[in-house]
Amino acid sequence: MNLRREILAKVSAVPPLPEVIVKLRECCNDPDIDYSEMAHVIELDAGLTASILRLANSAYFGCRGTVSSVQFAMTRLGLRRVHQMALSVCVAPMMQSPVSGYALGAESLWQHSLATAMAAEILAKKTKNVEASEAFTAGMLHDLGKSVLGMFVENEMVEIRRLVRDEAHSFDEAERAVLGTDHAAVAGMLLRHWQLPHNIVEAVRWHHKPASAEGENPLLDVIHLADILCMDIGWGQGDDGLEYRQDRTAATRMKIDNATGELIVCSVLQGLEEMKELFEMTGQGVH
């Protein structure tokens, strides 16, 4: 079996998302949704319910200690927010493990993902066309491909490093040259496999090459910029370091300058520890 096929097989072997999360997502677009019925479905899972309530009552999500039921969280924060929280709780264990190949320690991918999610949400609030909760979700999932690709990268690290060092390849270009795919493409496949919305899949798929995506997708610009910012600061940095290309046109379209970027990282630094603690306590969520 060639490498690319092996990688595809590994993506297909990732379990589908729990049904409750898929259902919650479908309900986001249904104007006739019965909140009490949906809340009841979530409440069948005690761990997930506890995690959603914990997140809904945090300072970050804005309802300090006032949310006592899933249904109230839905009314107060909206279905998309509740879906974002449930999905985050579900994927957290996958991202909290160490990732070989990229030399990411136990919390590194998770730290980078949370930081990017938070930066993406702040960026989304600066533009009219991007929903904050979708930016958070896409930011959190953008590097998920690394957890699938880690072993393959580790086996081919010598050649990948050589291409980056001697042939001026970016890290994802080197991945494509050696493995036939890259971690952004793998994350895109995985999110399609999980039936996430097209704009999130595309934003994750092209987060290192915004110019290659078809059509306009402001969410993609948001994720590209949020990733560059968090890469810049070094949150959850691996051996791939800053070896990725930046697309200035994304910042031009978003009208984001250096000073705005600096303010965003100040806010992320302030909230990141709280966010990490919040998710550490949701360990009993769906796996």
Binding site: I233, G234, L242, R245, R248, A250, E262, C266
Partner: protein
Amino acid sequence: MTVATESKSVLQLGRPMVTVDISDMKISSNQNEILATYSLGSCVGVVLYDPVARIGGMIHCMLPLSKIDPEKAALRPQMFVDTGVTALLQEIYAQGAKKKDLVAKVAGAGSPLGQEMIFKIGQRNYTVVRKLLWKNNILIQAEDVGGSAARTLFLDIATGRTIVKSGGQEVEL
């Protein structure tokens, strides 16, 4: 700058490693300790060492100038180069280092690939470090800055040896 062959042993002796987080600083005169800061991207790591008093300090600053958010700078001066390096200097003098003996080493200030930078955090961090140390009459004895590699910075308090680990290689500054 030389490729450190002996330095590996310094890092592998199992001596206590004191981590300097992002927006954090540490000063030590414990001859057994090694100060370490990880994940230097565009952030800048500054090492100050007095070989006579055998005292060393390290800071990991995230952004160049505190004026962008004075409130956060008041709470966490180490976040910014201007307030952070100033705080590091004050503290290391307070603990017995002498300006005339102090040497500085700098690492980090990188940026992702591409001619046109979206954010100029690394470049600006480095400029402010240089200016500040120059104003304080402190020589930057060695540096490993710019580029797109991930860096980890170590300072051996016993000897002042400063090592940058990057892309699987260790280099002594």
